[in-house]
């Protein structure tokens, strides 16, 4: 039975440079890419060269980002784990910390604590067909997984990427999507809620893509991330297609403060999302009554 994978490194357990796990490691913004009107991707490099060399993470993990003077927020990795010289974080301008982050410029300093949380079971699903379903900024936590799968493409079966966004302009990683659309070993289907004049692909919610996706639920695994309402209907659709409960893998998100299982904010029933999540199979989620409503 498939379960979410345990990472090799986890902040506070196997990886923590100073004695105090609440103190972040400084990192400098090297580059900022505008993804959508309210989303930017920040490329960061740790100031401590030795720490930068030893730093590694696995797809699905996240970090706590400190904007000095504003506070701390949990953000998922968006870059490839194979990329050793920098990390990328894709951030929507929503709250106090992310708002302050959007005001940052290249050369500014941030604090990073991580990697935290568990990861997508990419080793365990080798040989299987992979279906990635994501909505809006939910593509960001899946991007490391997609990049790692594409880097080891022959280890996996068919690869489907289903992506939904509000408008064509609200799609993250348009430069990646263009590249992926040209590859013939990726089935990329995109949809938007509201199309513009240039849009020639599907219009509607992401579940409308399933009718045109000729995927075989046997020997397949689905990785999903997106808004809660999307997750709910995608899961219903996947179950209807015949995906088994342990082959539907989701990354959950919760309000978080500490990232090390102490502050109590991210708890769903008795499970702390920051240390035991954020990646869960649908079967694991069913043991949590708070998620059922």
């Amino acid at each position: 039975m498939l379960t979410a994978a345990r990472p090799r490194k986890m902040w506070g357990v196997t990886d923590q440079p100073s004695a105090n796990l609440y103190i972040p490691m400084p990192a400098v913004i090297e580059d900022i890419v505008d993804e959508t009107p309210d989303t930017k991707t920040f490329r960061l490099r740790f100031e401590d060269v030795d720490y930068a060399k030893s730093f590694s993470f696995e797809p699905g993990q996240f970090v706590e980002v400190t904007v000095f003077g504003a506070g701390e927020a949990p953000i998922g990795f968006a870059s490839s784990p194979l990329e050793k010289s920098f990390i990328e974080l894709t951030i929507v301008d929503r709250g106090k910390v992310t708002g302050a982050m959007h005001k940052c410029k290249v050369g500014d300093r941030l604090g990073i604590r991580g990697p935290m949380g568990n990861c997508w079971p990419l080793e365990e699903i080798k040989g299987m067909n992979v279906v990635v379903v994501s909505g809006g900024c939910g593509l960001a936590p899946l991007r490391p997984a997609i990049l790692q799968i594409l880097a080891n493409r022959k280890d996996y079966g068919e690869f489907w990427l289903l992506y939904g966004a509000r408008t064509p302009a609200d799609r993250d990683f348009k430069y990646d999507l263009e590249k992926w659309a040209e590859r013939d070993d990726i089935h990329l289907l995109q949809t938007v809620d509201v199309a513009d004049a240039d849009w020639n692909q599907n219009v509607g919610v992401v579940t409308t893509l399933f009718s045109s996706a000729k995927m075989d639920p046997k020997n397949s695994v689905a990785l999903t991330c997106g808004p809660p309402i999307m997750i709910k209907f995608v899961t219903i659709e996947l179950l209807r297609m015949g995906f088994s409960e342990d082959r539907i893998v989701t990354s959950l998100e919760r309000y978080m403060k500490c990232g090390v299982g102490k502050c109590g904010h991210c708890c769903i029933n008795h499970v702390y999302i920051c240390t035991e999540g954020p990646v869960f199979t649908y079967r694991e989620m069913q043991a949590l009554p708070e998620l059922q409503s």
Binding site: G12, V13, Y22, G69, R109, P228, R254, G264, E290
Partner: protein, 361 residues
Amino acid sequence: MTVSDTYILKKSNATVFFAGLAREMRLIAPKKCFGGDVMFDLVESPEDIVWDYGHDIYPPKRFLLPHQEDMFRYSDRGKLEIRDLKDAPRQAIIGIRSCDVKAIRFQEKFFGGQIVDPYYSERAENTVLFNLVCNKPPKKECFCICCDAGPYLDSGFDVQMTDLGDRFLYEIGSEKGRKASETGLHMLEPVESKDIAERKRIELQADSLFETTAYFAKAMTFISWDDVPDRIWEELGSTCFRCAACTNLCPVCTCYTVDDRPEADGSFVRCRSWDSCQYSGFTREASAHNPRPTFGSRVQRRFYHKVSYQYVSRDGTHGCVGCGRCVSACLTKLDVPSVLKRIRRSMHEYLPDEQVTEVKP
């Protein structure tokens, strides 16, 4: 209780005894504060210790997990400077009640484990607890006897003291307690069999005096398997004022929030302060999505954490020590015994006398 670890400390010697300890660490004990209330506070002189106090509504957990705690100071002007503000003074909490000792042990386990919270763990490491057993329940709201948290502790105490009139029975329960007793070792006298007999009599008598009961057994099965009807939670939640007195006064609760506080010199202090799962903002995400949108869902959350089997198997004990503070504090009877009683009745019609006092759905 092994007799070799049990001594007698004469009350006439207690002041000198703890004055010796005060030379090694700061003392925290119940003392008469402004206005005449007895509360836990730093005591300058052991003479200020009030030995015959009842119960402090403000739990002594604040000496290990302060209401607001500065974590580290940073300034980012050209060069990033981070200074750890971790502060773990050696301290003894004297006269703490058994329920609060049990709660602190619970918190120590929670903040320790695989991932160690350095602030709490170091403070707990430097703290010695001298619990004073309640010869009778200090208030009618107490129900530690339902929670394996008192009035006597079988284990987990550093030093357990029983008031035997003109003298204390002084039981040492840990290496830390033994070390803290060394300064006054010559004042610890051998125990006599009549003292042991008196302790047993007090224990039996105290056990018989509890008025409040909490129906943990049934509530635990119902809450753990999500068998409590949603309408019961909503009915309970409908009376909540969201004041969070229940969680702030709970000696077991640990949740905190983190803020960056600007300082006059341009630096910032990252500080953490108590937070409560009873606030609607506790789980509200930046997208405005709130996984616990209703009062009922938040009350359910609190009780799931306190009594569910899943947490018991995780923490080794349930998250209530029966101190009765939520009973004293909650204006709308969302305290542990009342809610558990409501859950016990949730599958049945009310008994005739209950219909008068409780809200019918």
